[in-house]
Amino acid sequence: MKKFLIALSTIAALAFSAHVAALDVFACEPEWAALMLELGGDRVSIYTATNAFQDPHQIQAKPSLLAKARRADLVVCTGSELEIGWLPVVLRQSGNDAVQPDKPGYFEAANYVQKLEVPTVLDRAAGDIHPGGNPHIQTDPHNIARVATALAQRLTEIDPANAAYYQARYRDFAARWEAAMQRWDKEAAPLRGAAIVVHHKAFAYLENWLGLKEVAQLEPKPGVEPTSAHLAEVLDQLQRQPAKMVVRAAYNDDRASAWLAERAKIPAVVVPFTVGGSDKAKDLFGLFDDTVQRLLEAVR
């Protein structure tokens, strides 16, 4: 037993020392992986735990995630309980002290933005609600900017040897992002005030940014799949209170929005929601370029 343990710890020590070279980052969602790439460049090695076609609320603590979390120097997640169904068990079983929630190696993006839709009453009868507020913060580029500032700071803390490199990349990114945001604001001006129907309450930050007005959801309650009775109600509501489009994320099933779009005679828009959610959403810039273009096409 003792020999076995010594052998194990030797392997572990070798693996550990080989690892100090590049910063291993475990990104819970593709948008944080993309941001990490902007800030960390070739000094970081990034693993993305989920993809744009997975419902971020319904991820399983599969073995590959445990193996990756065990080697991570930094875990970057949304927080606000978006990952509550799988991340706690992954971190607890990772045997990796550095990325536990109270450590610098654990970063929750939602802590650095002002959250919307913070519930005043916590009751599961209201569906899948997040006590900390709506966690889908990545749909507003201003939030990306805020998270970038905090994440750059965190990188310099846990990898001070490359601090200058990270800060240089951060300044470069921040400047390009600022310019891009001005462009998006200008381009998206026709969207201001447009009424929309959404599949899931996943677009609060997008609406807040672009001045869209959410009039209905296809889900009867957050996290509950659309029912025909509820869809009929939404259709009825749209007769009195018309909307410009029905919006869903890449991971949502298309049937409910197709049903409504056909009957209400409004376009169904699928937005990438995160990096990788469409062909054009290859990085964060592409994500917002494509999102704005798709929304604009619907109001034209």
Binding site: F53, Q58, S64, R70, E81, G85, D97, R124, A163, E225
Partner: protein, 431 residues
Amino acid sequence: MFRHLLCMAAAAAVAGSSLAAEPAATDTDQRLQNVEQRLERLENAAPSAVPPASAGSFNPAVSLILSGIYTDLSHDPADYRITGFPVPSAAEIGPGRRGFSLAESELGVYANIDPYFYGGLNYSLHPDDTASVEEAFIQTIALSNGFAVKAGRFFSGIGYLNSQHSHVWDFADAPLVYQAFLGTQFGDDAVQIKWLAPTDTFLEIGAELGRGRAYPGSDRDGNGVGAGTLFAHLGGDAGVSNSWRAGLSLLNTSPQDREFSVTDLAGNDATNSFSGHSHTWVADAVWKYAPNGNPVYTNFKLQAEYMRRHEDGDVTYDSDGALGLTNTAPFDAKQSGWYVQGVYQFMPYWRIGLRSDRLDHGTVDYGANDANLPLYGYNPSRNSVMADYTPSEFSRIRLQLSQDKARRGVTDRELFLQYQMSLGAHGAHAY
């Protein structure tokens, strides 16, 4: 062993802190300051985004599992047995009581104790108004290099289903191999050490040393160790849509006077006991498929486990002397069994599943007691089909039908209609 671990933890800590303490260049300081100023501006601009904290935030996560069942059986469960696989009366096997019944309901309280330990209690409420401690353990969260240590009462890490609570199983009852070889589930008062390898492929190795109080062990009064396990699990992804895990485990126990009752060759109910060594090998595999890794609309799960047990020692026939025929003789048995099950979610909230169970009577040698104790040469089997409806992560309603041939010469047709709901903290489930 512990000293060794502590040394390693200390070494890792030192390595970590020396990195962090490295002096940064003045240039960097300046940039850091800039960033800090930006942060400050940001914080002043936006009201505090941190959720309000109160003393209540320190409360542990409390969850309550509520479960009830309606059971309809074509044969009396009072004489339920798995022919050729006698278990102690304390082991809860079989389909349970007929009619409406409370099923196993559980109260769980879990929390981080401090920066170093996590702990929890799972208290199980049984339909006969008794309660038991299902799990009560502490585990480390601050060790590095992939190590974790757990101590207390907990379900062993062997196999796949064993460490899961019954409310996350996909069928209303445990596979026959689990009932016959582990008395439904093997939980012990023990210490566990697990190590996760620093590899891209998931590789976990674990060992446990414990009291061995539960079947196939037996509670005893003595120093030292009554049960030991070793297990290894390997897992990974195959593309974005497939994930898998496979493992091999060994459970060793040394039961003393482990009782079992059988009808002897003369037709009497005889109480007997076994003392010796019990070795159980478990091979497990699970494969999950979800299109693009998104299980919300459709998904499929296939799992199978095989167990092989070797027991040798002495069997005392009529150990309580009720028949006046008490006799001790050498015993040696090699038996095995398996189950395979598939569960398919064909639309949101709805799943169907099939399970096939089989045990192989193997070779059983009672020595001189062959004259008293029967050898059946019978292979118990069971087939089950289930359908369940899961309107949310917190509730599930299930219908299960089984054709149970655990008893020789009896085909029990079983129907289960059950609900399983959880309220309280949103638990994260293991794979």
